[in-house]
Subunit: 508 residues, 2 copies
């Protein structure tokens, strides 16, 4: 019997998925093991892969198959219908864009990442400027081409690739609420903590191989499966996404600080456990992909921040840290180590920010990239606008671009419209965690012996196994009972940083 159009599409999308997986592995390898001389040829490999993927994913035959399958969609079950819907979405993203343009962006990003590294190293924005100007122009072209196709604004069209269905009308409301609330909360927390027991900094160096060993053991206990993954050292923390049984995490280790690497390792573990929980049957199908950036980020933040900095987990973690890295003196007493994970202080670098500051870093980028794209801000004015925004939102200003607008790799890699997912993820994490704890009181209790498994069971069932079966809004509402809002995050932050008294914090 001949295959139906839908079946043919499933078989084609599996191939497309595997091509994307290979590109992901090539990028992972570039970050971890590739020798420096291979940069140019590797970038050409990625262009070739993108050319093939684009060619296979947006040709005419493909369009006919989609139309035919849609005309008979009543014969499909609910997973298949959701799959077909996602196929159409991917097809729109691919076919909206001239393949030459898609290739140009892949090619430019190879070079721009190198420029960015150099610029950041030398603290010289001018090294980054010319390539970034071209990148903004190309992104604008992509945004406009997709906007027509998807019937949304250009910026929404870019976001849609990372956060399907994202609309500024919804995000603006959420972000405005946060921008109105968080700076004030920062002040109230600072006020409350003045006079409380402070944090005495511990002194390194902390041997990198001991940190790797510690994080390896910790994430294994949290539930990361080393039979289907590995942990490596890298310049930037990330999770290799796209290989079904091979979800590798990479962490940046610094000799003078163990807490960043621990937080990063748990964060990437949250991402990885989501990926490892995607159903095998649908793994290489569009519906089997993770739902989008904000849900993905929510899993990472829930593990690293909401659960990972709960007093229950900190009381488990701090003694282990002391055992592994501990020295003499008051800095190494238990309350001080515990407090080191709970510091709140506006600072310059997003990836090291505390839970309260973090969304403000994101809101800054959300505003700036919209201004860059719609022409309200030119690239040469970016450093100044960045610094002004930092002062407005966080009350601190970087004294160098390396610590300012050159800190993130995203724009160099062509990721415009990506940043909002980080703050949406924080909102989602708080809301899902609240629902999870309400349905399973075990979750918090078990964290005090380092056991994440009740939490993992809940998210696996309510989030991971659902992958892209529902829209993001529907997925959140089904899992938590409510549409996404800011209340859960506000409640969580108030509770942890204003009301709880723990490890000497908040005790006068």
């Amino acid at each position: 019997m001949a295959r139906s159009a839908y079946e043919e599409l499933e078989s084609r999308y599996e191939v497309l998925s595997r091509l994307s997986s290979m590109a992901a592995l090539l990028r992972w390898d570039s970050a971890i093991f590739m020798p420096p001389g291979a940069t140019v040829d590797r970038s050409d490999d990625l262009v070739a892969l993108e050319t093939i993927r684009h060619h296979l994913g947006s040709n005419q035959e493909h369009a006919c198959l989609l139309a035919e399958a849609e005309s008979r969609s009543e014969q499909l079950n609910s997973w298949q219908r959701a799959n077909l819907k996602e196929m159409r979405r991917l097809w729109m993203h691919d076919s909206a864009v001239d393949p030459e343009l898609a290739r140009a962006i892949v090619k430019l990003s190879g070079k721009l990442v190198a420029d960015w590294k150099q610029a950041r190293k030398d603290n010289n924005f001018l090294v980054f400027l010319p390539g970034m100007e071209i990148m903004v122009t190309l992104q604008r072209e992509i945004a406009e081409a997709k906007a027509d196709y998807l019937g949304v604004t250009p910026y929404e069209a870019l976001m849609d690739a990372y956060e399907p269905g994202a609309r500024c009308s919804q995000i603006d409301v959420l972000f405005d609420e946060l921008a109105a609330y968080l700076p004030d909360l920062l002040n109230r927390v600072a006020e409350r903590n003045s006079g409380c027991a402070g944090n005495t900094p511990v002194r390194g160096p902390f041997d990198i191989s001991s940190q790797i060993k510690f994080c390896t053991q910790l994430v294994r206990e949290i539930g990361y499966d080393f039979d289907r993954g590995r942990l490596d050292q890298s310049d930037q923390a990330f999770t290799l996404v796209g290989l079904r049984d091979d979800v590798r995490i990479a962490v940046r280790f610094c000799e003078d600080d163990f807490s960043c690497s621990i937080t990063a390792a748990i964060h990437e573990t949250g991402h990885a456990i989501y990926e490892l929980g995607r159903p095998a049957r649908w793994y290489h199908q569009p519906v089997g992909r993770s739902r989008g950036g904000s849900i993905h980020e929510s899993q990472a933040l829930m593990y690293a921040m909401i659960a990972g900095r709960s007093r229950e987990f900190i009381s488990y973690l701090a003694p282990l840290v002391i055992e592994a890295f501990g020295g003499a003196g008051p800095a190494w007493e238990l309350p001080n180590i515990a407090r080191s994970f709970l510091q709140v202080k506006p600072s310059l670098i997003r990836v090291n920010a505390d839970e309260i500051s973090y969304p403000l870093h994101v809101i800054l980028r959300y505003r700036l990239e919209q201004a860059l794209l719609n022409g309200d801000l030119s690239v040469c004015d970016l450093p100044g606008a960045w610094n002004d925004g930092m002062v407005e939102l966080l009350g601190v200003a970087p004294d160098s671009d390396a610590q300012g607008c050159l800190q993130d790799v995203h724009w160099s890699r062509g990721l415009f419209g990506y940043f909002p997912v980080y703050a949406l993820g924080a909102l989602t994490a708080a809301q899902l965690y609240q629902a999870a704890c309400a349905s399973s009181p075990d979750i918090q209790l078990k964290l005090s012996c380092g056991d994440f498994s009740p939490l993992t069971s809940w998210v696996r069932k309510n989030i991971h196994k659902q992958v892209s079966r529902y829209d993001t809004n529907e997925l959140i509402a089904r899992a938590s009972g409510n549409p996404l809002g800011t209340e859960a995050l506000k409640t969580h932050l108030k509770q942890r940083y204003l009301h709880e008294t723990v490890f000497g914090i908040g005790e006068k």
Copy 2:
């Protein structure tokens, strides 16, 4: 102006080349860093990649372009004509084979390699038998399909994929001469050395990380470029081939022996320097690929065996080894260490064999795989036939299949018709080295201070930069002045093992 058919083909072959490069990187990753749980999905990735490569490399449009380019070949220069000839050869290999069959072999080989590992570990041939029977059947189908197309015998059709233009009539003559000469030479060397100073075995363990450090330093001095490569630990030594500026070598290290890993590291360095010397302009074109298995192997054997075991290089290497690994006692005296690299003794394992025994191991496999394919030998009788052949050619018999017919991965990976290149490589290495030394007396002299650069200059010009511009026979004749024969190897072996007196060997 529209692109010519030839130009269009160049652009398509670049993409095909890059797909093959990615498959090579996936295989490298599988061997070095992939977590164990990913085996099945990785094998499916490779099947998908092969499907796409096959589809792009053998479709009808492609056939038309080839025909059109050939009809206007008088407009092409000599490199382009050679390129077109190689395109046609690749096209014949691809289009001769039903894509289902090609996929089936890729798929089976993933499983059979796992079976083979298990069988070798448990010394249980029965674990390997059922998969190997299917593999032989599939290889027979491929061989017959290609034989019709190429107008050669089925076995020659398989060899042609690894050793373009290989004919049994030529190989049989060369191998019969070796099979007649080498066993007798082994006896004469044994007779001469009886009564000479022997080799006192050194005792390990030798720390693996010290061995890695030593080999890294050594291959860097020999000329391996770590800016375009890296050295890793692996179960089997191999070189990652196909990434222009990223030619990684992998070496097996054992705690109780440093000499195997040193030899393997130099061997892979020979392969890598060939790869790194391929001209960038033609790198991703068929004419820019290495000429074939025997030339490739000749470079590795020339570095590791012919130059690497010369008295000049050994007198440089032995003191370094003593400095790095040395202990007390007579075993660690210079002549003894030097002699350890020059032992000649028939043994069971091909990859550890001395220069005289090595071709005999290969001749055995050449005979057996022909017998398997033409049905003269059934897979269940392979262990017995292997052991009989070992006795006949080398005078030793394995007491286990793990040390016998299960020692090589090749058949599991679907590499039938590959083995002959090893012995052809030995012949080629000797003949090229003889010519190189005749034209540049510096080559041998400089080896005594560890300097391979005069040798590298000669092979770079005469072999590496020529890539696939000429047939193998023509390439060898141009470089050495003669068609490939056995005289140079015989002369080399006689000279080194019967006439030279060095480090106490041959001195009564």
